[in-house]
């Protein structure tokens, strides 16, 4: 690890001030991705601003027909939340499928979506459920939040404070994990709300994306069979040790159908 100065603010305002005052500041959430990256010396910063003491950033509440999840809410809390379980059980299932027990005890939704790993689960949840990402400055629609490989719409020093999930009529989650890391080779969140369907795919490209053709088919008929014959082009999909483009393209179809079946079974 390269050296850094450690800060542990206990309020959002102080965290903002710390980041604003630093030439090269970086917020630390759960650290499940950032810590290994820093250990490998692939990431560094002058000031590490630890958000873990900021109580106002954690918590889950249902209000205005939405589920609001604080940025520093741990995956385990989302997985076990009665509010989430009742309103969007697929989101609880997604949270329960992230990493392992120890990671879920520590990792946060804010950290996950800000790190924007191409194979992370939460981006699919946020995009597939049409959530809104709230920051200390603004509200960003999920469709505008994920912009590239490890890239988001966040500006320098901007902090995610919470994510608002509208409650869909139906939502389903399906994931095939990589045999080593257990990150998604491909995972899909589907949802149906107000006659519109969303299909968000993670693990397959530089960043999470929506499968428009599938969405149109599901809007017309929310059933797995509706996806028959819709082929995902393999061009532009990720290729790695665990899956080549063609197999990934195949898996997008498989996981989308499984997610629809999951939605219908909930």
């Amino acid at each position: 690890m390269y050296p850094f100065t450690y800060h542990r603010p206990d309020s959002l305002d102080e965290a903002r001030a710390r980041l604003a005052a630093s030439e090269d500041g970086r917020p630390l959430a759960g650290g499940m991705s950032l810590m290994p990256t820093m250990r490998f010396r692939l990431a560094s910063c002058a000031d590490l601003v630890d958000l873990n003491a900021i109580e106002e950033l954690a918590g889950i509440e249902r209000r205005n027909g939405q589920i609001r999840i604080g940025a520093m809410t741990r995956h385990a809390a989302v997985a076990a939340s009665p509010e989430v379980g009742e309103a969007i059980p697929a989101l609880a299932a997604l949270a329960a499928s992230i990493g392992d027990v120890q990671v879920r005890n520590r990792g946060t939704i804010g950290g996950s979506i800000c790190f924007a790993d191409p194979a992370a689960d939460y981006p699919a949840g946020v995009l597939g459920l049409g959530a809104t990402v709230n920051t200390d400055r603004r509200a960003v629609a999920a469709d505008d939040f994920f912009t590239g490989l490890y890239e988001t719409a966040l500006e320098d020093g901007e902090l995610v404070t919470s994510v608002d999930f509208p409650i869909p009529e139906r939502a389903g989650w399906a994931k095939l994990g990589n045999q080593a890391s257990r990150f998604a080779v491909v995972a899909v969140m589907v949802s149906l709300a107000g006659g519109a369907a969303r299909v968000a795919v993670t693990g397959a490209r530089t960043h999470v994306f929506r499968a428009a053709e599938m969405e149109a088919a599901l809007a017309a008929n929310f059933a797995a069979e509706a996806l028959d014959g819709i082929a995902m082009p393999s061009e532009g999909l990720n290729e790695d040790l665990h899956a080549d483009r063609d197999y990934r393209a195949h898996l997008v179809g498989v996981m989308a159908k499984r997610a629809v079946r999951d939605a219908l079974a909930r």
Partner: protein, 789 residues
């Protein structure tokens, strides 16, 4: 009797309480400096400049060392424990794995170019980053299958070829004739994947130089400390009597921790240069790259059958991976353990194999749990499996027709090895019953009718374990004597310390060796302690590898204990005024047969050291040492059977059931035996389905450098195992024990892969290369379906 009992392990308390003592846990009075290494980022490159000046001036830096320094210091080269010989017996094209790059060329990713010694780990890393190295990249090849192609870059151009050696074994003409007259011939390309042991404890070394007494100490994550000491005479020219090698608790090794690794020599060198104790703790990335890799054989096989499915002959052409250099024991695979076992559990009249060992720009390959035999079983069993399907004969039935019948033992195989004992048909029948085989076939048919893909995997094999004898292993190429050693020291109070030349790194010798000794000495097991892993305390040792410890070191314990009993009986007989033959020793007491006259073992022990009243020709003391050279290798055997389910959508494999029936001869501790089999099975399953030390074929970059890419099985990936056993006695040692360390890894890759093929045969799939990952299975099905259209 303790032998045969599931005694709970005596070493467990310290591990469970967090009080184990691994190399990284050891503290010294002097502060311990940290080592960090600069490693080649290229698969093949000329090193044109190494500038350490800036690094040397950085805070906390105690030493910066390069290959030039190594050469200037007069340090030496690695030397093969099992050096490369070709068929004529001449030295082949040996290039030993360098400790540090000394000749201006790096030949695989991860090769060490420079070392930093600094006060703390951050400073060492900072300075390593500050060393400037210029490379000129050269063309590279990491693929064993391509090593001998005409346009493949040469790893060692001075040799003019990537071929290290060629060996041929078996009956060439008979095999050709058998294949020519066969009713059916099956041909399969059967490459085995490059994997690595990935012990959860990373490699770690610490070196110390006591300048006052001119003594050196190395703490090492190693399975054979005396062998390490021997090779320090080559690397750093340190005489054996000056060096103490300590292998404390070792967190798994599986063969991979058997070698005198570059980092091991370098930390002691760093300690000598810096005047401080120096430790290196491998990161997982360094270990996945720098630990020896394993397997990586590229084989084409042909097997001929008669009309009834009896095997007439089998022929193989193999390219065996060496990687970029010769690792110390590599030739034990290509020249000894691999070809010898090609008959498996079958009565095959004609076998012929040609093995060409080759260099590639990849991490050196060496022995890993099974060493050559997982490849052997995989290549033969994959042919049998395909042959059975092609001929329409039930795969278990076809195997049963070819098993070596019990009356043929001792059985000499067509490759020339003689199995001393075994009963393969009995193993098969037990496995058939355990798995309820006929019901499985019915279930498979029913599921297939529903579109579900279930497969049943089978394999049956013999293992060659328990190396030596010394002469036999020398003849197969070993430059070390494959015996082992134990001393049994009875203290004057009658309590006992056993010193053994084996080294447990998970096997539980503190328990099992004590079981053997306690039975021989007629004493309470609690009165025995075991010392291993310290060259200053244990007289000599060859170490724990190749499922050999029980039938060598364990037998040395047995023999030394018997000698102690014999000597103590002479003293006791003197004290009880009877003949030694009139004495029984049990429960810590000598009893004169047929009387109630008794004398405690402790009293005899005390007298042995402190009494002048003794037989005139009986030497003082009560301690005996045995150097045990077994009369033969041992030949454990096993039959494995498994059930796999392949997901028709994702092509992910679920291993639903696994059964193994083992013949390991006499069992010391059935609980420990089962644990050995379980662990081996999981590693073999990993090889079959998940694990691969993958390189990018274009750039030669290593792709499996973390546990996020190198997939070792998780708890969810394996089932509970159903085990059974059937014992026949080994003839080469007095206990009749065969060894059990490798059975699981040897059989599981073949068994699981056969299961997957069995599940997919109806789709037209005939082979999927290991590891059978979902992406490869999906591709194989796609290709097969396209071919059928």
């Amino acid at each position: 009797m303790y032998v045969g009992q599931a005694i709970r392990r005596r070493e467990d308390d310290r591990f469970l309480l967090g009080r184990g003592s691994y190399v990284e846990d050891i503290t010294l009075d002097d502060p311990i400096a940290h080592a960090a290494f600069v490693r080649s980022p290229h698969a093949h490159a000329a090193v044109t400049r190494v500038d350490a000046a800036r690094a040397a001036a950085m805070p906390g830096v105690l030493a910066v060392l390069t290959g030039e320094d190594w050469t200037r210091a007069g340090n030496g080269e690695a030397e093969g424990v099992w050096p490369v010989k070709d068929m004529s017996g001449a030295d082949a094209r040996t290039v030993n794995r360098p400790f540090i790059c000394v000749d201006g060329t790096v030949r695989c990713v991860g090769e060490i170019v420079a070392m930093v010694v600094a006060e703390d780990r951050h400073q060492a890393q900072d300075a390593a980053e500050a060393i400037e190295v210029d490379y000129e990249e050269k063309p590279a090849n990491t693929l064993t299958a391509r090593a001998l192609d005409a346009d493949t870059p040469l790893v060692h151009p001075a040799h003019g070829t990537n071929e290290v050696l060629v060996t041929e074994h078996g009956l060439k003409e008979e095999t050709e004739a058998a294949l020519a007259k066969a009713h059916h011939v099956t041909e399969v390309v059967v490459p085995t994947n490059r994997v690595t042991a990935a012990s959860i404890e990373p490699r770690c070394y610490m070196g110390h130089h006591d300048t006052v007494n001119d003594r050196y100490t190395v703490w090492t994550t190693n399975q054979a400390p005396h062998i390490v000491r021997r090779y320090f005479t080559k690397s750093l020219n340190i005489p054996e009597h000056k060096l103490r090698v300590i292998a404390p608790d070792v967190g798994g090794g599986f063969g991979m921790k058997l070698y005198h690794y570059p980092e091991e020599a370098l930390v002691l060198w760093g300690a000598i240069v810096s005047g401080r104790p120096v430790r290196w703790v491998g990161t997982r990335s360094e270990c996945l790259l720098g630990d020896t890799h394993a397997r990586d054989h590229h084989t084409v096989g042909r097997m001929g059958f008669d009309a009834e499915g009896r095997i007439l002959g089998v022929k193989f052409e193999t390219l065996g991976a060496f990687g970029a250099y010769e690792s110390q024991w590599n030739a034990s695979i290509t020249n000894a353990y691999h070809f010898t076992m090609l008959s498996l559990a079958y009565d095959i009249p004609a076998i012929h194999t040609t093995v060409r060992a080759v260099y590639t720009n990849a991490t050196p390959v060496d022995a890993y749990r099974g060493a050559g035999r997982p490849e052997t079983v995989y290549q033969v069993e994959r042919l049998i499996e395909n042959g059975a399907h092609e001929m329409g004969i039930d795969p278990l039935e076809l195997r049963a027709r070819n098993l070596i019948p019990p009356e043929k033992f001792p059985y000499q195989t067509a490759i020339g090895i003689t199995y001393d004992s075994g009963d393969p048909p009995a193993l098969v029948e037990k496995a058939r019953a355990l798995a309820n085989y006929d019901a499985l076939r019915a279930e498979q048919a029913a599921l297939r009718a529903e579109g579900q893909w279930m497969g049943i995997g089978i394999c049956a094999f013999f293992d060659m374990a328990g190396a030596g004898p010394v002469k036999m292993m020398n003849d197969l190429g070993a430059k070390i004597g494959c015996y082992d050693v134990a001393s049994v020291r009875v203290h004057p109070d009658g309590r006992i310390t056993v010193f053994a030349g084996s080294h447990s790194h998970g096997q539980g010798h503190e328990t099992t060796w004590s079981q053997i000794a306690a039975d021989r000495l007629g004493c309470n097991i609690e009165h025995i302690d075991l010392v291993e892993g310290d060259t200053d305390r244990v007289p000599m040792g060859i170490g724990t590898w190749g499922s050999r410890s029980l039938s060598t070191a364990g037998m040395a314990v047995y023999t030394a204990a018997d000698r102690v009993v014999a000597k103590s009986k002479r003293m006791a007989a003197h004290m009880l005024e009877c003949a030694p033959e009139d004495l029984d020793l049990a429960d810590g007491e000598f009893t004169v047969k047929g009387t109630d006259r008794k004398l405690s073992f402790a009293a005899v022990a005390n007298a042995s050291y402190h009494s002048g009243d003794r037989p005139p020709d009986l030497e003082i003391g009560l301690e005996e040492t045995s150097f045990f050279d077994p009369a033969d290798c041992t030949y454990p055997s096993a039959v494995h059977l498994c059930v796999v389910l392949v997901d028709p959508e994702t092509c992910a494999v679920t291993l639903r059931d696994y059964w193994a029936v083992d013949d390991v001869g006499t069992v010391i501790n059935p609980m420990v035996l089962e644990g050995q089999v379980h662990g081996g099975l999981a590693q073999g399953i990993g090889q079959a389905l998940m694990e691969e030390c993958a390189y990018d074929p274009e750039s030669g970059q290593y792709l499996a450098g973390t546990f996020m890419d190198y997939a070792v099985p998780h708890a969810e990936d394996v089932p509970s195992f159903g085990l059974d056993s059937h014992f026949t006695r080994a003839l080469g040692n007095p206990l009749g024990a065969k060894g059990a360390g490798e059975s699981g890894t040897i059989g599981a890759p073949a068994c699981v892969c056969n299961g997957v093929i069995d599940a997919l045969w109806h789709l037209g799939v005939r082979q999927v290369t290991q590891p059978m990952t979902p992406k490869k299975i999906w591709r194989a099905i796609e290709d097969a379906q396209r071919a059928q259209q």
